[in-house]
């Protein structure tokens, strides 16, 4: 947990309905600088919608989101990313015909990177390859040079993560970066996430892999039917009666 307990992201009474379905119902929580916050819940419990609201892809019906005192709810997605709140997508669609490192040209071309590097970024390709190495693309095996459509899922998830990292963000929201990966891929992904936290990144992780998340997360939030049903340190949350009910028969681990 962070030493100075500075809140970076405040979510206040956010609600969103699609037709008659309440996807997110009056959810509030804080994100503290430097922590990994786990966000779990059964399928359809509104986790991704909540992320879409925070990153501006969906406008909430009511409620507000603040990033360091600045209201995000009125801003378009690219402005929010420009402030340093980035996200990965659950469904990855890389630029298939390009080599992996060329996929990072787009974020490296963004105004945020231009500002932070002061126009002295150098060769974007080289910066992209370094970023890929940071998330576990083996440079010696020439993985960063492979065409994106030939990469296995594990690398695509890493590519998606590095697309966020390229912006040098303050908050990364990971939408299921571990799901669909083999045990070996997950095992190599965990140190990547730990290193990000050590480098001062604040992370929200949406996951279905509870066991791995328990290892990583400092704090957990559980959602069900759009509502927040529990919040706290992982062990307490998992012992919570409502959480057990929500997961009973769903998670068979």
């Amino acid at each position: 947990m962070s030493r100075n307990e500075e809140v970076v992201l405040q979510i206040r009474d956010v609600s969103k309905s699609f037709g008659g379905v309440k996807a997110v119902d009056n959810v509030s929580f804080d994100l503290v600088e430097g922590e990994i916050l786990g966000l779990i819940g059964p399928n359809g419990s509104g986790k991704t919608t909540l992320i879409n609201i925070v990153t501006g892809f969906v406008k909430p019906d009511s409620g507000k989101v603040f990033f360091k005192g600045k209201e995000l709810t009125k801003l378009p997605p690219h402005k929010i990313a420009d402030l340093g709140v980035t996200r990965t997508f659950q469904v990855m669609r890389p630029y298939h015909s390009l080599p992996a490192f060329k996929n990072l040209i787009v974020p490296l071309y963004s105004p945020r990177v231009k500002r932070s590097s002061g126009g002295k970024l150098g060769d974007r390709d080289a910066v992209g390859i370094d970023l890929l190495e940071e998330v576990g693309f083996e440079r010696d095996a020439y993985v960063p040079y492979k065409i994106a459509s030939t990469l296995p899922l594990g690398y695509l998830k890493r590519l998606e993560l590095s697309r966020c990292l390229a912006l040098r963000p303050e908050v990364i929201i990971c939408d299921e970066v571990l799901s669909g990966l083999s045990m070996a891929e997950i095992a190599s992904m965990i140190p990547v996430m730990e290193r990000l936290q050590m480098n001062g990144m604040t992370i929200i992780m949406i996951e279905h892999r509870i066991r791995e998340l328990l290892r990583l997360a400092n704090r957990m939030i559980v959602m069900n039917f759009g509502e927040k049903i529990a919040e706290g340190i992982p062990e307490e949350v998992m012992a919570n009666k409502r959480v057990r009910e929500a997961y009973l028969g769903v998670e068979a681990e």
Binding site: H78, K79, A81, Y95
Partner: protein, 337 residues
């Protein structure tokens, strides 16, 4: 640390060069392999007007290159930015009317009207299409097809700028040679500039918008701004064609909003190969003379384009140029035994 980074960069560059299919120039054969197709194209286009038998065919060539430009612009916007614009005639029309009005009402010379029509027309077209830019795919296509149908009606209804009669434009290009080499110069510049642009980092952002606009937004890039810039490039090319045609005809009227300027570039693009940029140019170099030869079925020419379009979509969707490029790259690997 700095030397370490330098060393890595050097290492990577070697591999990068290989992955981009650019290889070290190691002999005259390799140089020729790269240069010959480009040289054949450039010299071929430059010599073509000189070997044309008659004034008539030289005029046909001019319109061939005009349609080539429009087709390249369409291909750029459709394949590299993902905005399928079915209303290319809007751009020629706007460019034509700006040049026509400036020349016949204000008496500005050609050297001013054509650049003003190109840039100003591009700006006006971009502003007109700006509200449609958040739309994707078929929705954008439908909206764009409406504009070139609506604008001539408005001109007729208000009876401005010559109404249905059109207006006479006194400034005309001096002779067919000036026409030919002016348009040819622009064709070559636009072709190589667009080819360069789509492979620069800027072009990769545009291609990113086509492939996955959500991810580009999440990367902190304002996609509407980039789409607007791409539309400006396309419409400026279209407006140049319109202004050029006005000064070729010495007349400006509603036929510059005709369906031909929307449909023929698309047919040429499909024929030549989507996404190759040079393909659409060659496509129009085939289609336009063919239509002239088939003058007898003049009124059926739209039908004819549609048949070409259909036939290629069904039987050869990759287009001529993609096929030729593939064959050429296979040719490299043929070795003497």
């Amino acid at each position: 640390m700095v030397t370490e980074a330098r060393r890595r960069e050097r290492l990577d560059r070697g591999i990068k060069v290989r992955t981009e299919r650019l290889y070290a120039v190691s002999g005259w054969q390799e140089i020729a392999y790269l240069v010959v197709p480009r040289l054949v194209l450039i010299l071929g286009l430059l010599i073509l007007p000189l070997v044309m038998p008659s004034m008539y065919w030289q005029k046909v060539m001019v319109s061939m290159f005009v349609f080539g430009l429009l087709a390249m612009a369409f291909d750029f916007l459709a394949h590299y930015v993902g905005l399928v614009c079915l209303g290319g005639a809007l751009f020629t029309g706007i460019g034509a009317y700006i040049a026509g009005i400036l020349n016949s009402y204000f008496g500005l010379p050609l050297v001013l009207t054509i650049p003003i029509a190109t840039l100003g027309g591009g700006l006006i077209s971009t502003l007109l299409l700006l509200p449609c830019l958040p739309l994707r795919g078929i929705y954008f296509a439908i909206i764009t097809i409406i504009f070139p149908l609506a604008v001539p009606r408005i001109i007729t209804a208000l009876n401005i700028w010559g109404g249905t009669e059109g207006m006479t434009v006194p400034g005309v290009l001096p002779n067919v040679w000036v026409e030919l080499y002016l348009i040819l110069g622009v064709v070559l510049i636009v072709l190589f500039a667009l080819r360069r642009l789509v492979n620069e980092d800027y072009g990769l952002v545009l291609r990113g918008i086509k492939d996955n606009d959500q991810a580009v937004k999440a990367s902190g890039i304002n996609i509407t701004l980039y789409k607007a810039q791409a539309v400006f490039i396309t419409s400026a090319i279209g407006c140049f064609c319109g202004a050029f045609l006005v000064h070729q005809y010495g007349w400006c009227g509603q036929s510059l909003f005709a369906l031909d300027f929307s449909i023929l570039p698309i047919a040429a693009t499909v024929l030549g190969g989507v996404g190759t940029l040079v393909g659409p140019l060659l496509g129009s170099c085939i289609l336009v003379p063919l239509v002239e030869i088939l003058r007898a079925i003049h009124y059926l020419r739209i039908t004819f384009y549609c048949i070409v379009l259909l036939a290629f979509i069904v039987f050869k969707p990759e287009g001529l140029m993609s096929w030729a490029q593939r064959k050429y790259h296979q040719f490299e690997h043929w070795e003497k035994v």
